[in-house]
């Protein structure tokens, strides 16, 4: 199968999946037993006729299929509507939160993916060495500890104990009148950044290290590495080839993880008082703020689907045998 056909097929599948995800979100939320206005009626703050007016204002009085079509149409033009509880566009709520989350998690994930994978490959190549054992024990320890526990310990030691870094106070990036760049490229930001960044890197390092180590261990006895060695390649060059042949699981995992980043890590955000998407979503759910929840969940689903697609395409680029196979 040619690469082009492969690409078209995969993209089509991704598009269909997105539509399914969106419909599921829509249906699920409509099936919830209450809506945000029923509470107001019960508390006596609004009369039924006022509620009717409000529902009409938000278009909730239209037939369900009209609502669905409008919803789809708006989603694909990235118009998420107004928040029911905060009286401002959903994008204004989600945008900054998402940005904050990505600024924190994406660099952390990329860093750990590169460093831990290289360390894992080295560990796998030197099987039985102290480095291998030490790296596995350390990273597994941090992987097994919940991220908020690591976070709390970091805070206890470096904020409250040594007083090096602030424990909270990260603001929304939009709150700075001088703009985004001024927020993110300041020393103050760096101080807020270092602890949650470290916690994230430590948390994810175990996965990449073990994946990389295991695939290099698998490759190590292989015939083609023997031939590479017989050709006179040095240890590091051989490790390079072993690493190149171990990329597949690492890339898959990286892509999947990146997709999941869009959900934020609620516990981490709470511990470090980081205004991210995870917190925004939980708040919106508690307030029964449909439009915000819908938009947040849509973005998460889209991210996972898009990253899966990216992983598939990366496969075909990384492993020439994938294209040949029936995919």
């Amino acid at each position: 199968m040619s690469f082009r056909r492969f690409l078209i097929k995969r993209t089509a599948i991704a598009a269909i999946l997105t539509l399914v995800a969106v419909s599921v979100i829509f249906a699920t939320l409509r099936m919830l037993p209450s809506d945000p206005f029923s509470g107001l009626v019960a508390s006596g703050a609004l009369t039924p006729s006022q509620v009717e007016e409000l529902r009409a204002l938000y278009g909730l009085d239209e037939p369900i299929w009209v609502q669905y079509l409008k919803y789809i149409q708006n989603l694909f033009t990235f118009q998420f509507g107004l928040s029911l509880t905060q009286q401002r566009p959903v994008s204004e709520i989600i945008g900054p939160a998402l940005l904050n989350t990505m600024v924190l998690l994406l660099p952390a994930l990329i860093t750990t993916a590169i460093v831990s994978s290289l360390a894992g490959m080295y560990a796998g190549w030197n099987r039985g060495s102290w480095f291998e054992q030490f790296s596995i024990i350390t990273t597994t320890f941090f992987r097994a500890t919940p991220i908020f526990v690591t976070g709390i310990f970091l805070l206890i030691i470096f904020s409250y104990g040594l007083g090096w870094f602030p424990a909270f106070g990260m603001r929304s990036p939009m709150a700075n009148p001088e703009g985004l760049a001024a927020t993110y490229f300041s020393l103050d930001f760096l101080k807020h950044y270092i602890l949650p960044f470290t916690a994230t890197v430590l948390f994810y390092s175990g996965d990449f290290l073990m994946l990389a180590r295991n695939s290099v261990v698998e490759r190590k006895g292989s015939e083609f590495l023997k031939l590479h060695r017989a050709k006179g390649l040095s240890e590091m060059e051989q490790l390079g080839r072993a690493g190149r042949n171990s990329m597949l699981p690492l890339v898959t995992y990286f892509a999947l993880r990146t997709g999941m980043l869009f959900q934020g890590v609620i516990t981490l955000e709470v511990v470090f008082a980081w205004p991210g998407i995870g917190r925004a979503l939980v708040q919106a759910i508690l307030n029964q703020d449909y439009p915000t929840v819908q938009a947040a969940v849509f973005i998460m689903a889209l991210a996972v689907i898009v990253m899966n697609l990216t992983a598939d395409i990366a496969y075909a680029r990384l492993d020439p045998t994938v294209e040949a196979g029936d995919v």
Binding site: A230, K231, G232, L233, R244, P320
Partner: protein, 707 residues
Amino acid sequence: MSLLEVNDLKIKYRTAEEDVHAVNDVSFSIGEQDNYGLVGESGCGKSTIAKTILGMLDDNGEIAAGSVQFKDRELADLSENEWQDIRWEEISYIPQSAMDSLDPVMTVGAQIRQAIHKHRDATKAEADERVAEVFEIVGLDPARTSDYPHEFSGGMRQRVTIAMALVLDPDLIIADEPTTGLDVIVQDKIIDKLLEIQDEVDSSMLLITHDVGVVAETCDNVSVLYGGKVMEQGATYDVFMHPTNPYTMGLQNAFPVVDEFDEQAISIPGSLPELTEEPTGCVFRNRCPFATEECEDGHPPLTASGSQLSACYYTDRADEMREAAAEPETWGIEAEDDRETSHETGDVILETDGLEKWFKQTQSFLDDMRGTEPDYVKAVNGVDLTVRQGEILGVAGESGCGKSTLGEVIAALQPRTGGDIYVDGTSVDDLLAESTKKFRSQVQFIFQDPFDSLNPRQRVKAAVAEPLKIQGYDQETIDRRVRETVSDVGLNPPEKYLDQLPAQLSGGERQRVAIAQALVLQPKLLICDEPASMLDVSLKANILNILREMADKRDIGIIYISHDLASLTQIANRLAVMYLGRVIEIGETREVVQNPRHPYAASLLAASPQTDPSVNRQRVLLPGEPPNPVNLPGGCNFAPRCPKASEECRKDEPKRSSFKDGGHEAACYFPVEDVESELLAQYARNRGETAVQPVDEGSIEESVEGE
């Protein structure tokens, strides 16, 4: 001045319990432009020696004593950095398993270029040019250097590794089982290529193999290894014409040869010695029919005997031993008095009628919707066979010809897509409908790999008893039958084996347990898929003998599926040759082997190597490879590669009875009369015209038409 000199080399492997003395006092030397062979069975230390010469001994291996001198330089003391300079520049290597020896995510050209850049200061263009050169030398299309390994067939990948080995003009090329795992026709082409290259370049070659035939046909000098010791050493011609060591005699006699019929296969009794300590006596003494007390006194030194060296105390009795070694009785095999009567076969036990197994190719969802007829791989395509009681039907063919699928379909391990199967006159469907258990008790299967097909946690007794338990026999019968069967397959005394786990058994013993498992239900039909292909030569014969005996004594019909024609001719009463899902020739084994009529069957038979170094065999340079089994063109499947093909062949597929002489049938309009002139000479001539191996079918056809 010799290029490589190995002196009194001793290599030990450290294991958790005790050291293994893999190589003990081995000496040999390779001259300039010499083809040297190291031959022996698994565990004889031949691969260890190869690894030592490349400095790639496993981490737990060490050179305990002796020296390896290469161009007057001691290799044993080199550091890893010094090794990296020598590897490939001076000593290159052709690996055993070409299928997985190439880096799957690197183009073949890049892998060869890598070797150039590592050792030479060359620009990419210069390197590319050199890669194209070596590609042409090995007969690959230079336009394919930017393809990935998975785009090449097994034989072509082996050519890539050979090209790689040649690229820096090394002084020595080590070829570790370069043809093992390849089909016999491909093997023949690779051997031909190696010899041709040998004439053109100045490199010496060290060939490591278990295949006596390959060594006899390619090497000038040879060392026969056993248990880490050199048993016999000298010019290949002398060693295999007049062996003076009992092990060489055993090995050579055990090696099956295609045109030896009815001779009971010779196998060397016993198994390899434990190499946990240095040998105190002759390493072969516990399996040697000529051993005496004297043989306990240390391994005999290599002494001159005739024109070769032999490690035996009785080299003066060589002639006498040679005569005795040709008799199976010498090796403890009971002779069958009435070999002739054994060939009387009984009633038909199996009949297949137009048997078909087509595998549907997956197609896109849209094509499915449109109702497009999917492509099929016709693995088994209209096969008619009969097997009688007490008869062994051999099924031969190259990998991918559908022979294994045929076996599995007959045993109902896979559903068939068309045709009928009758066991003892009853349709398989009826048998299965009546009782699956009953059907299974009548038709049994033996798999290729004795290492995987036994449950590692099940003792021999439990493993053999299991089929009986499933059939619901009482405990007493089970015990009796298990004991009888284990003894019948030559595991004597049974008590010794019944409580052992598969891990405690050798490969040959495991395969016998697998056979016992199949025979314990006293089936009417036994299907064996390559049952001996994983075993060493000296054990292979044993398995063949047991199967032959079972067919004769118990009147079982046996289908023996194998790519190894030599084994087939030894035990099969009738032989069927398959090509791309069809039986293209069938008949009495002797008839088919001596007068093959179908060009493909004739080529296949002619491609088997000969252990007799005095025979000068014309190589089979059959062009191309079997075509992609999807979407085969109409007409005879073999026509695109056949030198005799005409318009008729390309249009209509010949029926199997196109040639018929008694029970001998061949699916060919123009049956072969003389293999040499009609086929082999033609192949060689065609190849001369198209220097480069044709890659796709189109060019094959052109080269055929261009005669």
